[in-house]
Every structure is written in structure tokens, then in C-alpha cells.
């Protein structure tokens, strides 16, 4: 801790032999991996110290993924683009996020990665107060309150119930509220082990009769604690009940080892006969206790499940609240401040409406990047910059290509013109079929004469007509005193093709003719 050198965070690397501990450690220390691995193996022969150290790191050190998830902040507020024109909207992002994370949402634990990974220290500490068993800060983020806390609770109470040494473990639980308390305790325990081992090397008499059961206890505890490995736990949560069996087996095996160890230690003799007897007796006692405690245990389990479901609901609610706070409330505040300017109010209301709509009705499963989405995005941009509503209706959709990008750009130019000169609502209609894609942009402005546009005005001639021609499409502008409509057509297949296209072209021409008169 004396060095000021900035070291990479200690994480388990994906370049792994067993669990990626060594390579992670090597990265962290800046040593070659080979030496670290060799050192670890050597340490294993030093009375198993290496094994213990490795196991400890395995449990305590997150993988790179987990670490990244934990550190990831919530993505920028979804309203950000919608009210980006407003000066105050800058405040909606991070600050609002912190408000909600530290605030009423006791939800970080069960949350989906996107919002669950926000865990600042604040929220973890907040949880610690509310839970019977405090979440250690190291495991805060993706924990499922049901599985994790539940089984740990059980482990804790069993340990306490069965033997005296359990109290050490128990004190461990209470200590966990202190940051790094666990690490410090573990370190001390390991040092103790090391000291004992070294003492033995120097011929000091250490009673093996005590050590072996103690090792059994530690081993059992370790097995039970293996569940704390976050990846495993995430897996458990994902695969629901099916894999819980694995967790329970592990817990049972751990318990068995611990109980056996404790018994041997307590009986002190090490003779098998006595141990068997004691084991039988204690199993009987445990069975009795289990029978008595079963109803209580089941009720406890049910409560836990209910609480978990409630927590999920709470998470959803908090997420909605956070969204509304970041979007609607901010916009309403802005609207109040600018109540004088009708234009601004309409613009803000439109932007907010659009944002809320897309949040409520959009289908997250649908892949984006398709033409309809692009057109809607462009329409939104025009709407924001000019304050006139742009109504988009789409029928069908198609993948984006370079040619479609040109179509989008031409449509954008047409929308800009419509918003600038037409005033009022702009109607955009996109129809995409197997044969062709057409976009119509209509406004209700005073109209203009396309032929009278001077050659130096590039907006219409170059950006719309020229661009469409270059990409094998058509552009027709039909303007009267009732308004202007720009019709863009783009056949789907490239110029060197078939009958289908020809018929399309003919249709297009026909329509163009229609439009001309």
C-alpha cells in the first residue's frame, strides 16, 4: 500500500488455467504470469498455503466481466436526445441517476444488469441496514436476495446451532459491515495457519488431532462458501430451480464435513468408533431439530420469495419512476419556464411525446438500423430543429444499404424544406415492398414552382433530385397553392436487373406522369 503506482485492478483474467487467479494477479502486480504460477505451485507445497491463497482469491476476486458490470454506470438518460435542445437538460443525466440510486430504490440487488449495476457505495450501505444479513460490499451488485442471502442465512444459523466454533463464523457475519473487514479477518486467519505450519516445520509439536478436524471444518465451510462465487451464483439465478440442487448439494457436503470435523475435534479421541456414535447421535439431533424447524423454515422461505417478488416489482416501479423523472418531469419544468414562447412549448411537448411513445410502444426485440427507424429518427431531428410536427407513417421495412442511405438523406432534405417553407404539419409516408421503396413528403405551405428555382440553390436540385438520380431512383416534386409533395422512389434491385424492376420503373413513370399534370 505504500506504492503510489497506479495498478490495474485485481480481477480474475479470462486467460485462465483454473480460475484465472494467477494471470489476474500477474497483471495486477506487473509480474510475468509464469513466475506467479510457479510461485503459487511452490506455495502449495508449503503446507498447502498456496491452495488456501488460491481458493481465497478465487472466491473474493471478481472476474473482469463482473468488475466491468459493477463499475458500469447507467447509460445516459433516454430523454437526453429528445430534450437535447434544452439547456437545462444536461442536468438530467448523471445527477438524476444518483438521486434515484441512493434514494428510495432498495432494488439494486435483484435488478437487471442495466440498472442493477449502478451500485455506488451508497446504495450498498443502504442495503446493509435493511437486511438481516448484510450484503458484503464485494458482492453487492448482481446478488439475488433469494438464493444468496437465503442460503447464507441458513449456513450461518446452522453453524451456530451445531457448534461453538460457529460463533467465529457468526462474528464474521457481523463484521462484514466494515469495509474490508472480511478480508482482514481472512488474512489474519491465513497468517495464523501459516504460522502453525512454519512452527511445525521447526519441530514445534502441533497436535494433528486438532488440526485435521479443523481443516475439515475449514474445507466444509469453503465448499459451502463456494456459492459466493459470483459467476456461479449468477448462473444459479439464471437457471432457476434446476440448478439450485447443485447449490444445496454443495451446502450439504460442506455441512457434513464441518459437522464431522467438529465432532472429531470435540470428542478429541480420534477413535472411529466413538466418532461414529457421536455422528449418529448428532444426525438424530439434527433431524429432530429439522423436523421442529421445518414449518418455520418453510414459512421463512416463502416470505423470502414474496419479498423477492416484491423487490422485482419495486425495481420496475423505480425504473419507471426514474424514467419519468428524467424525462417527463424535466420537460414539464422546462415548459413552465418557457411558457411565454408557444413555439418552444410545442417543440418541447412534441419531443417529450415522441420520447415517451418510443419508450412505451417500441419493441426492444426488434432490431434497429432498419429504414423505417432511420426515417423516424430523421423526422424527429427535423421536428426538433424547426418546431413543426412531422408525422411519419410507415408500411413495410427494409434493410439499410448505401442507396437507402441516399434515400434517407434526400428525404431529410425534403423534410427540412417542408418544415422551413411549408410551415404546419409535415406528413411523411414510407412504403417499402419487395420491389421498391417510396417516400412521400407532403406539406401544406404556399407551394413553389420547381422550375423557377435558381440553379445556384442546391437544396432541391442536388440534394434531392440529383442524389436520387445518381442512385438509380426517382424524385418528383409536385407543388401547388395547396402544398408541396416530394415523391422519392428507389427500386430495390440494382440497375442491371430484371423484369420486375422494369415494371417498377414503368409504374414509377406512370406515377410521375400523373404527378406532372
Amino acid at each position: 500500500m505504500t506504492t503510489v503506482v497506479q495498478r490495474p485492478t485485481l480481477v480474475r483474467s479470462s486467460d485462465r488455467m483454473i480460475a484465472g487467479v494467477c494471470s489476474g494477479l500477474a497483471d495486477h502486480l506487473g509480474w510475468p504470469v509464469k513466475f506467479v504460477r510457479l510461485g503459487m505451485i511452490l506455495a502449495c507445497f508449503a503446507g498447502g498455503a498456496g491452495v488456501a491463497f488460491y481458493a481465497w482469491l478465487w472466491t473474493m476476486v471478481p472476474t473482469a466481466d463482473e468488475n466491468a458490470k459493477r463499475n458500469a454506470r447507467r447509460p445516459a438518460s433516454p430523454i437526453a436526445p429528445a430534450v437535447s435542445l434544452a439547456p437545462a437538460s444536461g442536468a438530467t443525466g448523471p445527477s438524476a441517476a444518483t438521486t434515484y440510486d441512493a434514494g428510495p430504490s432498495p432494488t439494486v440487488a435483484g435488478a437487471p444488469p442495466a440498472s442493477g449495476s449502478v451500485t455506488g457505495n451508497g446504495s450498498v450501505l443502504g442495503n446493509a441496514g435493511a437486511r438481516p444479513v448484510a450484503e458484503p460490499s464485494a458482492f453487492g451488485s448482481a446478488a439475488s436476495p433469494g438464493d444468496g442471502a437465503g442460503s447464507r442465512n441458513w449456513a450461518g444459523s446452522w453453524d451456530e446451532a451445531t457448534n461453538g466454533t460457529g460463533s467465529t463464523l457468526w462474528s464474521w457475519f457481523t463484521f462484514r459491515k466494515i469495509q474490508y473487514g472480511k478480508e482482514i479477518l481472512l488474512g489474519a486467519a491465513l497468517l495464523l495457519v501459516a504460522a502453525i505450519l512454519i512452527a511445525r516445520q521447526f519441530g514445534v509439536d502441533v497436535p494433528l488431532g486438532t488440526l485435521i478436524p479443523a481443516a475439515a471444518i475449514l474445507g466444509g465451510a469453503a465448499i459451502a462458501w463456494m456459492q459466493l462465487d459470483e459467476t456461479r451464483r449468477a448462473g444459479l439465478v439464471d437457471k432457476t430451480k434446476a440448478d439450485q440442487a447443485g447449490g444445496w448439494t454443495r451446502l450439504a457436503a460442506g455441512l457434513a464435513l464441518v459437522v464431522a470435523g467438529v465432532l472429531v475435534m470435540v470428542s478429541g479421541s480420534g477413535s472411529w468408533e466413538q466418532t461414529w456414535l457421536a455422528l449418529l447421535a448428532s444426525i438424530a439431533v439434527l433431524g429432530g431439530v429439522a423436523l421442529v424447524l421445518l414449518p418455520w423454515g418453510l414459512k421463512f422461505w416463502k416470505d423470502l420469495e414474496t419479498e423477492r417478488a416484491g423487490r422485482v416489482r419495486e425495481t420496475e416501479r423505480a425504473e419507471i419512476a426514474a424514467h419519468l423523472h428524467d424525462s417527463v418531469l424535466q420537460t414539464l419544468a422546462l415548459i413552465q419556464r418557457r411558457a411565454g414562447s408557444e413555439q418552444d412549448v410545442i417543440r418541447l411537448a412534441r419531443a417529450q411525446e415522441r420520447e415517451l411513445r418510443s419508450w412505451l410502444f417500441s419493441d426492444p426485440a426488434k432490431e434497429s438500423g432498419l429504414l423505417a427507424d432511420r426515417i423516424k429518427a430523421v423526422a424527429a431531428e427535423v421536428e426538433d430543429s424547426h418546431g413543426h410536427a412531422v408525422e411519419v407513417v410507415t408500411v413495410g421495412d427494409t434493410d439499410m444499404t448505401d442507396r437507402h442511405e441516399a434515400l434517407v438523406q434526400a428525404a431529410r432534405e425534403a423534410m427540412l424544406n417542408a418544415a422551413r417553407h411549408g410551415g404546419g404539419t409535415v406528413s411523411v409516408y414510407l412504403e417499402s415492398t419487395a420491389g421498391s421503396t417510396e417516400i412521400f413528403i407532403k406539406d401544406r405551405g404556399p407551394g413553389f414552382d420547381p422550375d423557377a428555382v435558381p440553379d445556384d440553390r442546391l437544396g432541391v436540385k442536388e440534394s434531392i433530385i440529383g442524389r436520387m438520380k445518381r442512385h438509380g431512383g426517382t424524385a418528383v416534386i409536385n407543388s401547388s397553392s395547396d402544398g408541396t409533395e416530394v415523391r422519392l422512389g428507389l427500386p430495390s434491385i440494382s440497375p442491371d436487373a430484371s423484369d420486375l424492376r422494369n415494371s417498377d420503373l414503368r409504374n414509377g413513370e406512370q406515377r410521375n406522369g400523373e404527378a406532372k399534370q
Binding site: L360, E391, V393, T394, V395, Y429, E431, T433, F440, K442
Partner: protein, 224 residues
């Protein structure tokens, strides 16, 4: 719907407004011009069914989302007023332009659908049109129709329900492009009455068709 009322000077169209927001109801009342007479208001499904049965209006302006009843909203009001469907027309109003909301209320029997952002003049015109037995299509509804029925015309122009005729498609396309009925008529060199009859035909198809694609389209959007 032959009993279309005289919409001339003397007679006023009797309207009931159903919406759970009092502010919106009063705003809408103020927006409707002198050709209409608001004879009743309701804020829930039960109230709406009762008020409609009591006042027997010509047009009901119906919010798609309503509290009360079994949670069916506007659809449930139309179903509950089934006996009056011959004399009372429903015009759906919604802030939502989600396909499921729009199409479900149309299929329940509404004569048209407009968004709540519509202007006062437009809503008045729409009410008159519905009172005359015609259908009112917003560009978005026309878009849904084109999406649901596909954009390929029917081969033979009989009155099968599963496809739109070439002419109906043209009308729908123009409406989707933002054309008013008058503009559609001008564009296609037909009378406004003809446009209206095409739109009504499309509405009937939308309400009655059990076309496979339509079912699939609806199922994909969880309409069924």
C-alpha cells in the same frame, strides 16, 4: 346506415363524449363547433354505457383507454352498446397510436379513429362525417390497414374481404400520405362521395376480415 341526419342549418348532431379526463372533455366540448350538441359525458365504461343508452346520441367520441368495466376500455363500451350500433356511430380518440389499441377498437365497431392532437376544426369535420355514416381514417390508421392487408391489390375486384382492391389501395395510400378526402378525390379524379364509399368499404373489410395474414398480423401485435 341510411338514417343519416340532416346536417344542414337546422339540425345539430347529438354527441356524447367519453373520456376519463375532465380537462380533455371540456376542451373537446369547446372545440366542437355549432353543428354539434354535446348531450352527455362519461368517464368510465359503466357510465358510458348508461349515458349512451339513455341519450341515444348519433355520435360517441370514445377514448380508447377507459377505466372501469372489465378493463376493455373503449372496446367494451362499443360491445356494451351493441344494440345501438345501427343508430349510434363511434369515433375512437386516443393518445396512443399503438396498432393494437387502434385496430381492436375499429374491429369492435368504431367508424373511425383520430388522435387527440387533432385540431378543433378537424374533429368537428370528423364527427359530421361519422354522423353521415362515413368512416374517418387518419394517416396512421391508413398505414396500419396497408400494413395489415399488404400492398398488393386483389386480382379480381369482387367483394372478398381479404384484400383491398386496387382503387381502395390507392385511396389508403393517399390518406397515409396526408391527403384529405377532398385532395384524394382531386388526385384520383373521383368524387368525394366515391372516396368515402371506398373508405367505408375498407373499414368493413378491416372489421370483418378473417384473412390469414390479418390474423397473423394481429397476433404478432398481440391483438387477439
Amino acid at each position: 346506415m341510411n338514417n343519416s341526419p340532416e346536417t344542414g342549418a337546422g339540425r345539430r348532431v347529438r354527441v356524447v363524449i367519453v373520456d376519463d379526463h375532465t380537462i380533455f372533455r371540456s376542451g373537446l366540448k369547446a372545440d366542437l363547433d355549432e353543428r354539434m350538441n354535446v348531450v352527455g359525458e362519461a368517464g368510465t365504461v359503466e357510465q358510458a354505457v348508461a349515458v349512451i343508452a339513455a341519450t341515444r346520441p348519433e355520435v360517441v367520441l370514445l377514448d380508447v383507454h377507459l377505466p372501469g368495466g372489465l378493463g376493455g376500455g373503449g372496446r367494451e363500451v362499443i360491445a356494451g352498446s351493441g344494440a345501438l350500433l345501427g343508430t349510434t356511430s363511434f369515433l375512437a380518440l386516443s393518445v396512443s397510436d399503438a396498432a393494437e389499441d387502434v385496430v381492436s377498437v375499429i374491429r369492435a365497431g368504431a367508424r373511425g379513429y383520430v388522435t387527440k392532437t387533432i385540431s378543433g376544426k378537424e374533429i368537428s369535420d370528423a364527427v359530421i362525417r361519422v354522423a353521415d355514416g362515413d368512416a374517418v381514417f387518419s394517416p396512421r390508421l391508413a398505414g396500419f390497414v396497408l400494413d395489415a392487408f399488404g400492398t398488393a391489390p386483389a386480382d379480381i375486384a369482387d367483394d372478398e374481404l381479404d384484400k383491398l382492391s386496387a382503387r381502395e389501395l390507392e385511396v389508403m395510400r393517399l390518406i397515409a400520405r396526408g391527403y384529405s378526402y377532398k385532395e384524394v378525390a382531386k388526385e384520383l379524379f373521383i368524387s368525394v362521395k366515391t372516396v368515402e364509399s371506398h373508405v367505408s368499404a375498407v373499414l368493413r373489410k378491416l372489421q370483418l376480415s378473417s384473412r390469414h395474414e390479418l390474423t397473423k398480423w394481429a397476433a404478432e401485435r398481440r391483438l387477439l
